[in-house]
């Protein structure tokens, strides 16, 4: 199978998986009672109107009077036309709400991802190069610490120390400051730090263990015998093979955090990003928005897994497309 066919097969599968996941979400949400209907009935009763009629009216307005499959087909059509409806909990179209929130999520996710991708393997390889020295122990200790400490717990404590007691950073996130400003950098320091601490641990551990294996590999001897400098040897000969198993961990780790811990970090630090948007949509049972964000997260997860697979095949020439 050629690369092209492999990719298209993967993409197709990704689309199928997204569809299934979103369908499950849709069904879960349809099973829940819709509070808007009940509220309308209350309202109507207050006005002296007929509550049943009012409830019917809302159902009609929200398309809830249609049979489930019709609503589902509508929903599917909307998914692919990118018209994800109106979000009642934020009073804006779902797509706009998601885009707006993404703007803030990206502001901490991008530096966090970049730092993890760069620092994780670097520190891991450095740790391996200095295996069993105090530097290695310090780095490993840090990795385990970051891995094990609950992000939200770490976040609230750091915020208390640096925000409230030391007053080094603002307690309240200000969304209006320009993206590329010192102020923004300062207010994003803690969330990024907390997330990097959380994600870097696993990356470091894997890259340390893997590169420890590779730095004692015969090809490192070959490289040395060729006259390759240690720096170049690590950069090319250790790092590269380490990236193969690492890519799995890296993507997996980032995804898991992106879909889970980032929500808590947004809550703790008051960042109006996607996680909080989703959470609020959920507790306000804003069906359209919940579906929209689920769709988005599923998309990210599926794309992430796809990238992971592709990166894996690209990084490791020994893997052929037929194997997977």
């Amino acid at each position: 199978m050629g690369f092209g066919r492999y990719v298209s097969a993967r993409v197709l599968w990704a689309a199928v998986v997204s569809l299934i996941i979103v369908t499950v979400t849709f069904l879960l949400l349809s099973a829940a009672p819709n509070p808007a209907v009940r509220r309308a009935a209350t309202q109507a009763a207050l006005q002296g109107g007929d509550p049943a009629e009012a409830a019917e009216r809302v159902r009609e307005l929200r398309g809830l009077d249609e049979p489930l499959y019709v609503r589902y087909m509508d929903f599917l059509r909307n998914v692919y036309t990118l018209d994800w409806g109106w979000s009642v909990s934020t009073s804006m179209p779902v797509t706009e709400a998601v885009t707006n929130a993404l703007y803030y999520t990206a502001q901490y996710s991008i530096p966090w991802t970049i730092l993890t991708i760069i620092l994780g393997p670097l520190v891991g390889v450095y740790s391996a190069a200095n295996m069993y020295s105090w530097k290695d122990h310090a780095a490993t200790g840090f990795a385990f610490f970051g891995y094990a400490i609950p992000n939200f717990f770490f976040g609230i404590i750091l915020l208390l120390i640096f925000g409230v007691w030391l007053e080094w950073i603002p307690v309240i996130y200000k969304p209006e400051v320009p993206v590329f400003s010192v102020q923004n950098a300062i207010q994003l320091t803690l969330p990024v730090f907390v997330l990097v601490t959380g994600s870097i641990g696993a990356v470091m551990r894997v890259s340390r263990n893997e590169s420890a294996e590779f730095q004692n590999a015969d090809f490192m001897k070959t490289a040395k015998a060729k006259g390759v400098s240690p720096l170049r040897a690590y950069a090319y000969h250790v790092m590269r093979p380490t990236l193969v198993p690492l890519s799995t961990t890296l993507v997996g780790q980032l995804l898991a955090l992106f879909l889970g811990a980032s929500l808590l970090v947004e809550v703790v630090f008051g960042i109006p990003g996607l996680g909080r948007l989703t959470y609020n949509a959920l507790i306000q049972q804003d069906t359209n928005l919940v579906l929209g964000t689920t769709l988005f997260f599923t998309f990210v997860a599926v794309i992430g897994n796809l990238i992971e697979d592709l990166v894996f095949t690209v990084l490791d020439p020994r893997i052929s497309y037929d194997d997977r």
Binding site: A217, D218, F219, K221, T222, A223, K224, A225, K226, G227, V228, S229, Y236, H237, R240, P241, V244, L315, D316, P317, R318
Partner: protein
């Protein structure tokens, strides 16, 4: 370089490793030399310190945990006192290495071409195109068919023998004067082995290289060696010309090694006992605990001084030393069955262009 100065001269080379369990002495004060155009074989069981000794020459082993003492003179320069950066100039350029397992010795993430070019470009300022041309040339020279198309293939797409050829090509990029070959044929099957040996032989002439060849396979030794250094547990037991030693092995250890070879009328069995603990080597002769001729004198003091038993052949054994009786161990009837002391294999196989 003066005419009488050897290409490589190793004196009192000692390599130790500090580990959690104490200090491990892998090579314990050995001397040997290699001349231009000459093939010297270091022979010994696995674990006797051969590989460490050769890797100590250009300090390929990691220091720390390793620690290298003694002198290694290459064309008169002491390599061990050279700064790392200058040493890097010598590695791969003047002194090249090839290793036992070509599968592992190449980085599976890069094409073979990339790896050859890397070696080339480290030492020479050549453009990518030129480097590629040179690399293809070398690959061609070491007998890889369709070299230019295989340049972009990954190591896993080559067979074992081909990989070793690539390794050799990689070693040749700097037109080295000394090639250190660490059991280059051990991982290969017998027919391929012969082809590689033949290739090395041809290349030695063409490139006028000295070859330091490490092996535990005396069959190979017989085929290519000019001189032999027999090592055991970090010490040199015996050294001399290949014919001398095959005809008249002096040291009991050498004798037992040769006995293992069926071609030499040996039993084909191994030597009883195991290598001594490298953390705590025995006193006296290292081989004494396994030696059938060992006496009390063998078990005290240092490893005995080497004694010249024949021109160019020296043995480190109490029985040859002052007050010793060589006849205890000497067994002149020992020797190859066919008596000519040359290749036990037919040696006729041509070096084919490929073995796939």
């Amino acid at each position: 370089m003066s005419a009488d100065q050897p290409l490589l001269e190793v004196e009192n080379l000692t390599t130790t490793f500090s580990t959690d369990n104490g200090t491990l002495t892998a090579v314990d004060g050995i001397d040997f030399s290699v001349d231009t155009g000459e093939t010297v074989c270091i022979v010994g069981e696995s674990g006797s310190g051969k590989t460490v000794a050769t890797e100590s020459i250009t300090r390929i082993i990691n220091t720390p945990p390793g620690e290298i003492e003694g002198t290694v003179r290459y064309k008169g320069r002491d390599l061990l006192s050279l700064p790392e950066s200058e040493l890097r100039q010598i590695r791969g350029n003047d002194i090249a290495h090839i290793f036992q397992n070509p599968q592992e010795a190449m980085n599976h993430c890069y094409t073979v071409g990339w790896q050859i070019v890397e070696a080339l470009q480290i030492h020479q300022d050549v453009s990518d195109d030129e480097a590629r041309a040179r690399a293809v040339d070398l690959m061609d020279r070491v007998g890889i068919a369709n070299a230019s198309s295989r340049f972009d293939d990954y190591p896993h797409e080559f067979s074992g023998g081909q990989k070793q050829r690539v390794m050799i090509a990689m070693a040749l990029v700097g037109d080295p004067d000394l090639l250190i070959a660490d059991e280059p044929t051990t991982a290969l099957d017998v027919t391929v082995q012969a082809q590689i040996l033949k290739l090395l032989d041809d290349l030695q002439e063409e490139f006028e290289m000295g070859i330091l060849f490490v092996t535990h396979d005396l069959g190979v030794v017989a085929e290519i060696a000019d001189r032999i250094v027999v090592m055991y547990a970090g010490k040199v037991m015996e050294r001399g010309g290949v014919l001398d030693i095959f005809d008249h092995p002096g040291h009991p250890y050498t004798q037992q090694l040769l006995e293992c070879l069926p071609e030499f009328g040996g039993t084909g069995g191994g030597i009883s006992g195991t290598l001594p603990d490298p953390y705590d080597p025995p006193e006296g002769c290292r081989f004494a605990p396994r030696c059938e001729y060992a006496e009390e004198a063998c078990r005290t003091g240092e490893q005995p001084e080497e004694v010249e038993v024949a021109p160019g052949q020296r043995v480190s054994c109490v029985h040859y030393g002052p007050g010793g009786n060589p006849s205890i161990v000497r067994n002149d009837e020992f020797g190859p069955i066919d008596g000519d002391g040359t290749a036990p294999t037919d040696g006729e196989s041509e070096v084919g262009p490929a073995d796939d």
